[in-house]
């Protein structure tokens, strides 16, 4: 049953050295504030799972907290490389398990469904199965077709950012919902940061995307907690920051200085300013 906590307590209680963790959010609602708390607490030897590692994993990898990255597309979308991730992989210091998006999406779905693996039609005529022994196959018992398989993703911890929680601890997402619901349902424990806590969600679609309180471990209110990603209806994506990150991350020393100034000596309250700056209402 969801417990309302401080960000510090929520991360400390749920993420341990050596854990596998999925911080999800497909461009939208990436849990930056929670990721920064992970950086401040310094959990080590993490297996980081994410379809699109994005800047948040560039930061965690750059800080030396990850031993392995499970992913399907590791870039700064529309900009270029994730320089910290790329350098660690090229140097052989970061183990990787690489999939396609279809495989990862299916793997999260299978995890949420409590299945050990997912079946899909994919990976035809390509080289990834030659270098990833977790890409296997099953034969359809009806047609004989050979289909690709991927192990279910079952992280120790899922960390996501959502729009709202109500007082009972139910969590609502809207817009581009990615694989966040699946990540939470697939994980043993979950930390959800939200823009706001409301008495009641009020009038809504009968089919609203909601994680009931009893599927969530910890809820933390962090307005702006997705910046430089965005929260639909609250604030816009800080595309300029994504572009600027390229220069920051390219040089390790510049990167470390930026992390010191903006993450290590900061706290979740700093995200509220981002939310105000990019507020949808301010357009």
């Amino acid at each position: 049953m969801a417990e309302f906590m401080s960000l510090r307590d929520a991360i400390a209680a749920n993420l341990k050295d050596g854990d596998s963790v999925a911080m999800e959010g497909f461009t939208h609602l990436i849990p930056y504030a929670a990721g920064h708390e992970v950086i401040r607490q310094g959990q080590k030897d993490l297996t980081l799972i994410r379809m699109t590692p994005d800047i948040i994993y560039d930061q965690i990898v750059g800080m030396g907290q990850a031993k392995k990255l499970v992913f399907s597309w590791a870039g700064n979308p529309g900009v270029g490389s994730l320089h910290r991730v790329r350098e660690e992989i090229e140097a052989g210091r970061l183990a990787i398990e690489e999939h396609s998006h279809a495989a990862m999406a299916n793997a999260f779905e299978a995890g949420a469904a409590n299945l050990p693996f997912a079946v899909f039609r994919g990976y035809k005529g390509v080289d990834l199965p030659k270098v990833n022994s977790n890409i296997r196959s099953v034969t359809c018992p009806y047609t004989g077709e050979v289909l690709a398989t991927v192990p279910a993703v079952r992280p120790d911890v899922a960390i996501i950012h959502a729009l709202k929680a109500d007082r009972e601890g139910n969590v609502m997402l809207e817009g581009i919902v990615g694989v966040q619901k699946e990540a939470v349902l697939a994980a043993k424990r979950s930390v959800v940061t939200v823009e706001e806590i409301v008495d009641d969600f009020g009038p809504r679609s009968a089919n609203a995307v909601i994680l009931p309180a009893w599927t969530v471990t910890a809820i933390v209110k962090v307005p702006g907690g997705a910046h430089p990603s965005y929260a639909q209806g609250y604030y816009k994506r800080d595309n300029a920051f994504y572009i600027a990150w390229d220069k920051i991350a390219r040089d390790k020393a510049v990167f470390l200085k930026w992390m010191e100034d903006n993450v290590l000596s900061s706290g979740p309250e700093s995200f509220a300013a981002h939310a105000r700056r990019f507020a949808v209402a301010a357009e």
Partner: protein, 255 residues
């Protein structure tokens, strides 16, 4: 009208291939520009889908990422990413997929994974993302890539997504039923797979570009079709709509 850049004619030539009937799985960058240019000019009813889950989206500025809020705000609806890959892409509901890549070979296989050995990469690229399954599930694939010796490779170090494999019949042998890459639109010319061999063959050359220029930017001996057309130059409307789109986009992303 010759006042245009190579990447502009590349985008415009790609846009012209699209129709109101197309359901496109759109990637970021040139594909997104081409699809939205088509939508804002001759194909207002074209259906655009981004892998972030947005169905039938109509952005007024180009997204920087595959999942900008603009895409969701203007979409008919937005589905989860597992649903996108299961019901919509694998479901066979996309007529035209777009791909680009760091490297391509003469059979339109693409590499966006790695240069050098996988386990000891010289250059680690972003990886496949949606490409491996886009390449096999869309009715056909349009590839948009600027030419160059480091991109148009005689042999790829890694195949991230399937084009025509080792030539005609490769896809069928793998049980793949879609057409694969039917157009490769570059900054210099347009290639199409040869009907007999599936090797990429130049079928249209952009105005002012020479065959030598094309060969100089390609790592394999370029084949030219028996009849090679000249690509029609961008017209004033195409250019102004494309430039307006880019200007709006740039302003929005810098904000």
């Amino acid at each position: 009208m010759s006042d245009y850049q190579p990447n502009e004619i590349m985008t415009i030539a790609a846009a012209r291939l699209l129709t109101n009937e197309d359901v496109c799985f759109v990637g970021i960058g040139a594909p997104s520009a081409a699809c939205n240019l088509a939508r804002l000019t001759h194909a207002p009813k074209i259906t655009l889908i981004y892998e972030s889950g947005t169905l039938s989206t109509r952005p007024t500025v180009l997204p920087l990422s595959i999942g900008d809020g603009e895409l969701c705000d203007t979409a008919l609806t937005t589905v989860s990413v597992p649903e996108m890959f299961r019901y919509w892409l694998q479901g066979g509901r996309i007529t035209t997929g777009f791909l680009g890549g760091a490297q391509i070979d003469r059979f339109a296989n693409l590499n966006t994974t790695v240069v050098g050995p996988y386990d000891a990469p010289k250059v680690r690229l972003p990886g496949g993302g949606g490409a491996p399954e886009i390449a096999i599930h869309c009715g056909q694939i349009f590839i948009i890539m600027a030419m160059g010796q480091r991109a148009f490779m005689d042999k790829l170090p890694f195949i991230t997504s399937l084009g025509h494999g080792t030539g005609k019949g490769s896809r069928e042998a793998l049980g793949v039923k879609t057409r694969g890459p039917t157009q490769l639109i570059t900054d210099l010319c347009i290639f199409e797979p040869d009907a007999e061999t599936s090797e990429l063959t130049v079928t249209s050359i952009h105005p002012g570009v020479t065959r030598d220029q094309i060969q100089a930017n390609c790592g394999w001996p370029v084949k030219f079709a028996a009849e090679v057309k000249e690509t029609r130059a961008p017209d004033a409307t195409e250019l102004s709509v494309l430039r307006d789109l880019h200007a709006r986009t740039k302003a929005a992303h810098a904000a």
